[in-house]
């Protein structure tokens, strides 16, 4: 009997990209399950082209099941819609277009088109996989009735550290994520500026590349004017540098208004860094009771929260312990086991 052929599609594949990493992990799991599988993408990094095919070369091939990694609108999505094979959609969330409109209108238009495309994909797909209940609800609202929550596959930095603050170092507030309007880095800068009234040497470290040059320019000017010398734009970093960033951070702060899962929150918890976040989108679901969730992100409120976490040793220790326990529930082994079963069940629905 021939092996079942599962062809995986995604818009783009690149190094140090969460959906790309997930796609490769899924590829491994599909092979473990005994399926024949290949990855097809519209854009792929030159270093990865031996593992990824141009989706246009797929036109003459046949598969038994198609699996689409949905994180943006794409030509690949249009292509998948033209195919007749049973479809599984693995949804990683789309940023609302309105958040990008003032900064990068063309990105807003792409996201808008992506959301419309998601509706068409949802109506065509037989099974949806979503990496949070928040995403599952969006996929169901788009028209897919059969959605299973299965985690995004990632490997947190293998770092462990004590709950104490580094002696002699200025307190560091960390955020990891691309500079992007939905992640509201301006609020992180504002909170740090407010905190400097009480802890003058506190600094904010922003790790991550940029989704909008215009947004980055505004953030830099904002930081220069309200928090001069207090904000470090670290840009995209290596795995080692990322682990170091978590290791030397005293608190992880996330004030995003839209996230689909937020892997860095779990990475911070795994690294023993207390988490303070704005209670929006998926963050209450991802963080659970293992972090401080704020319903008001005015600079003073956030600054008071940061000060409390930086100075209250008992609270710090509690957050570190709870955070590690929470992160353990997203361990790579457990995530892979859940995703493996979700993939097997999804393929069974299709063939």
């Amino acid at each position: 009997m021939n092996a079942i052929r599962v062809h995986q599609f995604t818009a783009a594949i690149g190094p140090r990209d969460a959906v790309s990493h997930h796609t490769f992990e899924v590829d491994t799991l599909l092979r473990d399950l005994g399926y024949e599988t290949e990855i097809f993408a519209q854009h792929s990094h030159p270093d990865l082209r031996d593992r990824v095919h141009d989706y246009r070369l797929h036109a003459d091939l046949e598969a038994d099941v198609l699996l689409y990694q949905a994180s943006t609108g794409s030509r690949v999505g249009d292509y998948v819609l033209t195919r007749t094979e049973p479809l599984i959609v693995n949804y990683h969330n789309l940023t609302p277009a309105e958040m990008f409109d003032p900064w990068e209108p063309h990105v807003g238009a792409e996201l808008d088109a992506g959301r419309r495309q998601l509706g068409r994909l949802a109506r065509k797909a037989l099974r949806g996989l979503a990496d949070s209940h928040f995403n599952a609800a969006e996929l169901e609202a788009a028209g897919l009735g059969d959605v299973v929550v299965a985690p995004v596959l990632f490997d947190p930095p293998p770092l462990r550290r004590s709950a104490s603050i580094d002696v002699g170092e200025p307190p560091t507030v960390l955020f990891v994520g691309r500079l992007s309007p939905n992640k509201c880095q301006e609020d992180l800068i504002a909170a740090t500026a407010a905190l400097r009234e009480w802890i003058p040497d506190v600094r904010l470290k922003l790790v991550g590349g940029t989704s909008s040059h215009r947004y980055e320019t505004a953030l830099r000017e904002h930081a220069q004017r309200v928090c001069p010398g207090g904000v470090e734009f670290a840009g995209s970093v290596s795995e080692t540098q990322l682990a170091d960033s978590y290791a030397h951070a005293d608190v992880f702060l996330c004030l995003s208004e839209h996230e689909g899962f937020c892997v860095p929150v779990i990475e911070a918890m795994a690294a023993g860094t207390p988490v303070v976040a704005f209670a929006a989108a998926v963050l209450p679901e991802t963080i659970g009771n293992a972090g401080i969730l704020l319903e008001d992100k005015s600079p003073t409120n956030v600054a008071v929260a940061l000060e409390r976490v930086l100075t209250d040793r008992e609270l710090r220790a509690w957050l570190v312990e709870k955070g590690r326990a929470r992160a353990a529930t997203f361990s790579p082994e457990r995530n892979r086991a859940i995703m493996r079963e979700a993939l097997r069940a999804a393929v069974e629905v299709c063939v």
């Binding site: 309007p181 505004a218 004017r225 309200v226």
Partner: protein, 330 residues
């Protein structure tokens, strides 16, 4: 249930109860901490009015550096910003010492102010238009849903392409034709290939860029263009012959009439071949979902005959496309 299963069940329930109790305790603790934080922030604001002023100042700076629409009230912001960025000094010593260097500096500042001002206005307009277009699109979708005509593409199978026998027949009909041939709704190029192989100057157009890819890879001249627009933009007499397939099955009567009229211009002395199935022979699903779209070969013949064209109906062996409409316009 066995005793072992019962014991395991009891253990699981007990463990779950402990977990729930821990979760409840954690929830209570973080709620308490959050309440204390909010109370402390409020108390500090009351004690120190400077805090509120500082918050407003931080927000004002962000509104200044963010583009229109991204933050704050945008009412007067654009003009305010233009004023702030207008670094023109009305007392600039034009024509006075130290002379030309300062004049150049002033010109540079004026140019900077002007470009920034214009780009802000363009961005603001773009932002407004984007939002309006999105709302318009959403309202159209609601109307389409209500009218039951929304995005039938997800429900209907793609219109099939004719088989090779039909393609050979079309090529034989057009074999003696002079001038360039265009295949509107060419799909993967089934109708284009025999014409191409016969040495006829031919190209195909289809709205779906993905569908044409196999034909493009095989060296056919296929272009991702809307067929209706391609015909409408053609020069008078540009084509010796026109073949219309695929997309014609989604046209209503008015659109079909437009195709006829535009063909008379684009192939004024040439031949038009319509390759279409008969709506009366559609299955029940396609009949309902494609209702109101597509004309029978007989109706196409009638439309061309009204223009004075000589029309012939040619039978084919393909059950999906039993009859071709061949209209000679000269």
């Amino acid at each position: 249930m066995s005793r072992a299963d019962q014991a395991e069940g009891i253990c699981l329930v007990a463990c779950q109860a402990v977990t729930n109790a821990n979760a409840d305790d954690s929830q209570a603790y973080v709620n308490q901490v959050r309440a204390e934080i909010e109370a402390e922030a409020e108390a500090r604001r009351r004690r120190d009015p400077e805090l509120q002023r500082r918050e407003r100042e931080i927000e004002r700076v962000w509104i200044e550096v963010a583009p229109p629409g991204a933050a704050g009230d945008q009412g007067e912001l654009l003009l305010d910003r233009a004023d702030r960025l207008a670094t023109i000094d009305v007392d600039v010593p034009l024509g006075a010492k130290p002379g030309i260097r300062q004049l150049k500096g002033a010109i540079r500042k004026v140019a900077y102010w002007y470009l920034r001002y214009v780009s802000d206005q363009v961005n603001a307009l773009n932002n407004v238009l984007t939002r309006l277009l999105r709302r318009f699109d959403e309202r159209l979708s609601v109307l389409e849903d209500a009218a039951g005509i929304a995005d039938g593409g997800g429900l209907l199978d793609p219109i099939p392409e004719p088989d090779g026998a039909v393609a050979e027949l079309v090529a034989s009909i057009l074999g003696a034709q002079t001038g360039r041939t265009v295949v509107l709704g060419c799909g993967s190029g089934v109708l284009v290939r025999p014409l191409h192989d016969a040495g006829i100057a031919v190209h195909g157009v289809d709205v779906d860029a993905l569908v044409i890819l196999p034909g493009v890879r095989d060296g056919l001249d296929l272009r991702a263009v809307d067929p209706g627009a391609h015909l409408a933009e053609a020069r008078p007499g540009e084509f010796g012959s026109i073949v219309a397939a695929g997309f014609v099955e989604d046209l209503g009567p008015a659109s079909a009439q437009r195709i006829v009229e535009q063909s008379l211009v684009a192939a004024s002395n040439g031949t038009v071949v319509i390759v279409t199935g008969d709506p009366a022979e559609r299955g029940i699903v396609e009949r309902e979902l494609r209702a109101g779209r597509g004309l029978s070969p007989a109706t196409w013949a009638y439309l061309f005959e009204r223009t004075g064209a000589a029309v012939e109906l040619v039978g084919t062996p393909d059950p999906r496309f039993r009859t071709l409409v061949v209209a000679r316009l000269s």
